[in-house]
Subunit: 161 residues, 4 copies
Amino acid sequence: MVADYIVGRLKARDVQTDLIDVADYPLAGTGSASATHSLDHYRRIVEDADGFVIVAPEYNHGYPGELKLLLDSDHAGYRHKPAGLVGVSAGRIGGARMIGQLQVVSLALGLIPVSPTVLVSEVASAFDRAGEMLHESQREVVERMLEEVEALADRLEPGRT
Amino acid sequence: MVADYIVGRLKARDVQTDLIDVADYPLAGTGSASATHSLDHYRRIVEDADGFVIVAPEYNHGYPGELKLLLDSDHAGYRHKPAGLVGVSAGRIGGARMIGQLQVVSLALGLIPVSPTVLVSEVASAFDRAGEMLHESQREVVERMLEEVEALADRLEPGRT
Amino acid sequence: MVADYIVGRLKARDVQTDLIDVADYPLAGTGSASATHSLDHYRRIVEDADGFVIVAPEYNHGYPGELKLLLDSDHAGYRHKPAGLVGVSAGRIGGARMIGQLQVVSLALGLIPVSPTVLVSEVASAFDRAGEMLHESQREVVERMLEEVEALADRLEPGRT
Amino acid sequence: MVADYIVGRLKARDVQTDLIDVADYPLAGTGSASATHSLDHYRRIVEDADGFVIVAPEYNHGYPGELKLLLDSDHAGYRHKPAGLVGVSAGRIGGARMIGQLQVVSLALGLIPVSPTVLVSEVASAFDRAGEMLHESQREVVERMLEEVEALADRLEPGRT
């Protein structure tokens, strides 16, 4: 729901976007029966992208293992590209602790995590039936994050080689 | 190599130990062909244990996704049990950044991460052919960590319910 | 306000408590004119204590410099003593990111940070005029944190030397 | 010693540099007798700068309180400016854990922490008497960090307002 909302907002901003779902990729070195895409497919999307938005739930104050496995499966394609980080939680904190860990990992990958980050608390009641974010203040943070990803992608792109 | 060394030291201390290898468990929700044990098997070992030593490499300054998936697959069994943390890296830093993130996750799980932590740098040259740790100072840190796990397990055990 | 509330709850539990205010100590190596106590005074309180509760605001997603200076001014007195961590913020997140960093520092000091941690969001509207916490769920988390500090202090005390 | 080395390297690269020493500023709200500069002086340097290099020791796996106090004393001047992070320690780990926390704080301040970070381990034996870094591999990491700060300052500068 959160990822779909972000994709919708990016479309409204005329930004071409691929939605990458960890569930579609073979992870943990397993020949996963449910995987529909290869890791090469993931690496091609990463290489072609000018920027990223990562949406992730917080489990036990850290990032999900599936997300880390997918992020770790590439290393060259992230360099000097901005990443908006969106934390999601059922509780009141919106994944803030996970975001702190994800910022450190993002920097290690060569990504440039943007400010502000988005924290979606109590996700079960954060959207209406049409998939619209209910809190205006939160919608505004999303737009500022997306603006920042776009602005940094524009400025950083010429220098990539 | 690191995990085997730790298991050997625990045997030398007369501590009954199960070696849990993430590769033996079905992770990421996949019916992994290579998995030889069920997650119920993991949860039973966790429940029966009085303490833990977690050995993990650092990838991109974070913990491996496989480890996080396995840790997240239980929640009741960790409470009030000590955990020694051992970071491993090919480089000079020994996984220090990953250990910081793993301490936060361990606390969220209810574990009590012990001090000192063990950092095995340049792991390729850290052991001799017999599997013995080469640096005496590092062997001493391992023993102090194991003493701490044992001591805290003893003191915390009576209060668990 | 938060610290006073915690002290009140500890008194209600018959736990003898000293309130340490960073503003009373000379920090940053300065002969601060406003300091009323010496760092030796701090170290004596730390040495005598069986456990701690640390109440701190989050600034820029980290802990306050004053708190770190005071914590760093001792090293022997913290060992094997439980610490309840209470984050305070004007915003919605309650200092969660700061708490993650404080957990790592606490472990380095030899403290045992307890679970749960307490996160006081929107602190300006969290208390009534009598200094009582308004949200029952938050009051319950405080009590569980204090119970845990007491329980761990009891269990860990015999082994300290 | 580390900061002087960095300043020397920046001069060699024709980058105009101010050396900011936390000891020169009144911190912790104290009218410090030893302070020779005002916090306004600090804020003016920050505002005028196109980029930063932060050199800091690790204490108890965190950043020094003095550094945090100084960083927290401004908020508008950091936005969209790159920051090279240099950790220093007497031991083998070079401040890696502190750097992780400083990355999160830097992002909260609006800074863009660059990759690679520099970790100076065993600082007492890291320099010769002329103040030259002994290890060539470390000198190379310093240059790559400085190149990155310069490159990002160039690319990000036009977009600042």
